[in-house]
Point group: C2
Chain length 339, copies 2
């Protein structure tokens, strides 16, 4: 499987490394030969038909900051439009205003015959129905398990582990940064300023944590999970959003407050008072989702949120899923092998 | 898909009902037409080529206790040996001495060309490697997601939601009855006798709760999960087992004690002291497993254990999985449709 990586920051570079580490295992376990033929950052793309060893590009990226400082690069869109990969992996940072440049990367990859894996929430939160239709109409696949809880497979849990069961609703903590800060405020009596300072010091909060604190990041993940679980067509504007910057309600010792994204009655993100022994009462940077399932009652999935290697791990799941999907398509057409 | 149900107690009867309720949904969502053509209890089997409406057999079973009191039945093995179903679902009660009569039911179903779904842990805990080899050699499928945490899809979580990731080890609470009793003893200072009395009153403990309390039930689930996750060949005798009847260690207010089944270093079930804020510190009849994943760190799955409808829900997942597996087999052979 020929792979192109667009975005070479913490996720893209961890992915390149992980593909290299797992090459033997993937061939052995899934019959899947993985080969990275281009990697791109803001400065342009390095493309090599025979594959790129991560040690080369990662060392240049680390020491010289941009790929163009160490390689002859070509413009990103030009490389994508060549259509030389089976799958283009979009891992540039999210932008919830117009989702660019990722949205164009994804659409151009599809138009040129490449399947897409995205870890970037922006395009999915704003244009998920359009993107999936574009892919469907071309018989291509778009996968996105890294967009919601990279470290915790919420997406595949909902449709694969619960396939055959009936999910009625779900709610949970979808942003680790705000959960860390809120835990500090409630449990240790920290001020918002002190908690945020500590989160930045520990690398948990970014320089500009606005989207984490005002609920937008949680809402984006809620949209993606809603569309995925209920085959719906929500976008970010359908979600009522509030964050943790407003007044945090006072609670007694048996309760706590969490920023909860909820599918029901209408999609919303807001502060909620929950009992201390609710499994969703999980501190630190964890994410946690409660799925209400008709036959099973409540099932809880808890794990780490974002992080370069964790999100790269999500892409590895998507690569196996992509192979399985394509295999069924190919078998239907009467071919016997792929890749 | 033609289905036979062997065992018509809480799981078997809930399954018959659930198949009936979901028939439309399964046809619509998965293209899967479900038809129950035989149901069996200890007294024998009711077999109808055109399908059995659950209202008929369930009312006889409920009012007259045995199917033979209301129907002309035929011997169980005779019905199984006809090989008239695509899948035989084995849901008789577990027996960890020789796994009979379930083991013979499963082997005879396979020998006569039926795939098998089992919710009965006995045959899998004692003979899982043999059973899977028997199925493999005939190109048949054996599925068993109801054997481990019927209400919580541990089995499919491990191999489907985490496919492409590397599970290094796992540990958790796999028996709801002992967890309920232990929680009462630790948190409320109940005696073992009082806690057991309350569990029986609430229908959480069976008349003879020995296998729940001495760790055997947890160990059986551990064996199945081990073989499933690591493609290994463990049986019950490979697990070091202790239960909750022995001395329960004293702990301070920041810790608690749980009966933990663990894959590592060697498979074992024993009382363990864990911090109170460990996500595995979950009370009541919940089951909870921590999977340690190389790229992701710890991921926790928490939900209900056994229960008739919950375990029947697990069989519904297996039915969808069976269809997908058979579809790939059929496509490989050049057929275009199944069922």
């Amino acid at each position: 499987m020929r792979i192109g990586i667009i975005g070479y920051g913490s996720v893209g570079s961890a992915l390149h490394q992980l593909i290299y580490e797992r090459a033997w295992d993937f061939k052995n376990r899934y019959g899947l030969v993985l080969q990275v033929v281009f990697v791109c950052d803001r400065s342009g793309c390095v493309y090599r038909e025979g594959g790129i060893n991560p040690s080369e590009t990662l060392s240049v990226k680390k020491s010289l900051k941009t790929l163009s400082s160490g390689f002859n690069v070509e413009p990103v869109l030009e490389t994508i439009k060549k259509g030389v990969v089976d799958v283009a992996v979009e891992c540039t940072p999210a932008n919830f205003v117009n989702a660019e440049p990722a949205y164009t990367h994804i659409i151009e990859a599809l138009k040129n015959g490449s399947n897409v894996i995205t870890t970037n929430k922006g395009p999915m939160a704003l244009y998920m129905p359009t993107i999936l239709e574009e892919a469907d109409s071309r018989g291509l696949v778009v996968l996105y398990s890294g967009t919601v809880g990279g470290g915790t497979p919420f997406i595949y849990f909902a449709d694969k582990a619960l396939k055959g069961n009936k999910i009625e609703s779900f709610r949970g903590i979808l942003n680790g940064t705000s959960n860390f800060i809120l835990s500090k405020i409630i449990n240790e009596g920290s001020s918002m300023e002190d908690a945020l300072f500590e989160a930045k010091k520990l690398g948990i909060a970014e320089a500009d944590p606005t989207l984490d604190l005002n609920g937008t990041d949680s809402a984006a993940k809620l949209v993606i999970l809603l569309n995925h679980v209920f085959e719906d067509k929500y976008t970010l504007k359908d979600v009522e959003i509030s964050g943790i910057e407003k007044d945090i309600p006072e609670v007694d010792s048996h309760h706590t407050v969490k920023l909860i994204a909820s599918s029901t009655p209408n999609p919303h993100v807001s502060l909620e008072i929950i009992p201390r022994d609710d499994p969703l009462n999980i501190d630190g940077t964890y994410n946690a989702v409660e799925f209400k399932v008709e036959e099973l009652g409540s099932v809880y999935l808890i794990g780490k949120g974002a992080g370069g290697r964790e999100t790269a791990g999500a892409v590895m799941r998507d690569l196996v899923e992509l192979k399985n999907r394509l295999q069924i398509q190919y078998l239907r057409k009467g071919y016997s092998h792929i890749f």
